[in-house]
Amino acid sequence: MHKTSHSFALGTSVALILAYLIFPIIVVVGISFNATTALRFPPNGWSLRWYEQLFSSSEWTGSFLISLQVGTLTMILSVLIGVPAAFALSRYKPPGRKLINALLLSALIAPPVVRALSTYLFYVPLGLNNTIIGLAIAHSVGGIPFVVINTVAGLRSFDTTLERAAIIHGAHPFIAVITITLKVIFPSIMVGAIFAFMQSLQELLISIFVLGTLGSPLAVKMWEGVRVGVDPTIAAASSMLVVLAAVVFGIVALAKLATDARGSARAGAGE
């Protein structure tokens, strides 16, 4: 009796807290289907007009294209640089490992405005301001830690006997890593890559400073939109992003689940 009342209190408070956590998502999706311009929740009528407006506006599609370019480049840079580092950190325990960990972690929590200001001033003589690649490079600093964290986690659960078996059977160690290890930990790398992409998509201050005149990525466009006035198109745009992210993440989660299941099945068979 005593115990159930405790669990009930815990369950209720957790449910309320989680409701608070996901409430903004429900509100934004609701507003995006609203029939009128007024930002009302719950909406007073349903329509798809904001989605039509989103897809027919060249400004929005242009912003979407810029974000896609910057995000994809960020993702590629983060994976190419982060995955080798994750291998070194997790397999070889190099000296100075603590310093590298601190460096990567600090990139995640460094005040964005400090990074924005310093990157802008640094880019002036390099001519990287107002370039897509410049912004992607700046975003990759925040993306690499995500790739490293997730790849290290993937490597930790990876069964190295698979790789050794390939080498014993004559594969060059490098080929064994490419064809066996990378293939098995691919979902972990993908999770890191998606986080790298998402942080690029949502980053605002560096985008404002670095990409001044070239155009606005989605985050900047939404920011300007919210400041100027009420426009449910913003809600439609971000609902699209949520759905997109959820779909991609769902696929990756399933892939990861499948690999984990295979891994544990193998571990079970070995016992």
Partner: protein, 294 residues
């Protein structure tokens, strides 16, 4: 010493020094270290150097002495502390529920906790603007149940900024606490129960003290992140709730006062670094990466 001897010496040294393993480690780590050093550390180092080289520490003391900037820093620390406390109060029960749950329930809880991450920060603040406004859902609800007889001001206050910030920072708090709580040996709770402790007492005297290191670690992480917030306070707060990132952006992008902006950035950076160093001394940064074996 003949030339051959010298040659021999150099060769033997090379043999000792050259280790294919460390060469591979170097090759793997070099891109990441060089990249971060060049595009992350160098810009910040140059910002620090330039603002100190111009007029030494006087620009810093001038900045710290300026009452406007001081009050902005005070506001930033206040909002950060209040949001951290809010995150802790709301995050602890969820992290605990995650720890005691298992299987599918834990999976669903984790998905819900992770879900808000995919929603843009601007849009999250935007949704609170809709909810907390004079004719928003909250005011309408309070009017309906009769707690108030005219709409109350929630938007553009300290409270609305904290509501927005806690919502954004809560997942970090929950996941960091959860990772720490998973490392607590729960058999200790069973032992306490066997020896007659009621659940609440077992929790209070066994589990809670053991979870405190995680509480400190997660709170510091959330507090550090909160100091750099920009969007939430700009959209949900009044000028009174202006945070330091807003001042820096205003000085640099609108007023073009680069040296003041740099000096303020320096102070913000110094505060952040100081907290990170204390954090590392007390808890070790490695712990955040899943323990020593990471």
């Amino acid at each position: 010493m003949t030339v051959q001897e010298i040659d021999q010496r150099i060769r033997s040294r090379l043999v000792i020094k050259y280790n294919p393993r460390s060469f591979i480690v170097f090759l793997l780590l070099f891109p990441a270290c060089a990249w971060m050093a060049f595009f992350y550390i160098t810009p910040i180092a140059m910002l620090v150097y330039n603002s100190l080289a111009e007029d030494g520490l006087s620009i810093l003391s001038k900045t710290v002495a300026n009452p406007v900037y001081r009050s902005v820093f005070a506001t930033t620390l206040e909002i950060g502390a209040a949001s951290t406390l809010g995150c802790l109060l709301l995050g602890y029960p969820v992290a605990y529920a995650l720890t005691v749950s298992r299987g599918a329930l834990r999976g669903i809880l984790l998905i819900i906790v992770g879900l808000p991450y995919w929603l843009d920060y601007v849009v999250r603040s935007f949704s609170w603007m809709v909810l907390l406004g004079q004719r928003g859902l909250i005011n309408n609800f309070l009017l309906y149940i009769g707690v108030i007889d005219k709409p109350i001001q929630i938007m553009y206050t300290f409270l609305s900024v904290c509501i927005g910030m806690v919502q954004i920072l809560l997942p970090i708090m929950i996941l960091t606490l959860f990772a720490a709580m998973l490392r607590i040996d729960r058999r200790l709770m069973t032992a306490a129960a066997i020896h007659g402790a009621p659940p609440w007492k077992a929790f209070r005297t066994v589990f809670f003290p053991l979870s405190l290191p995680g509480v400190y670690a997660a709170s510091l992480l959330v507090f550090i992140s909160s100091l750099g917030f920009y969007i939430t306070s700009a959209l949900l707060g009044s000028p009174k709730e202006s945070m330091i990132s807003q001042s820096i952006t205003l000085l640099a992008a609108t007023l073009l006062k680069w040296s003041d902006a740099s000096a303020l950035s320096l102070v913000l950076l110094a505060i952040t670094m100081a907290i990170v160093i204390v954090y590392d001394r007390v808890f070790s940064i490695d712990d955040l990466w899943g323990g020593k074996d990471a």
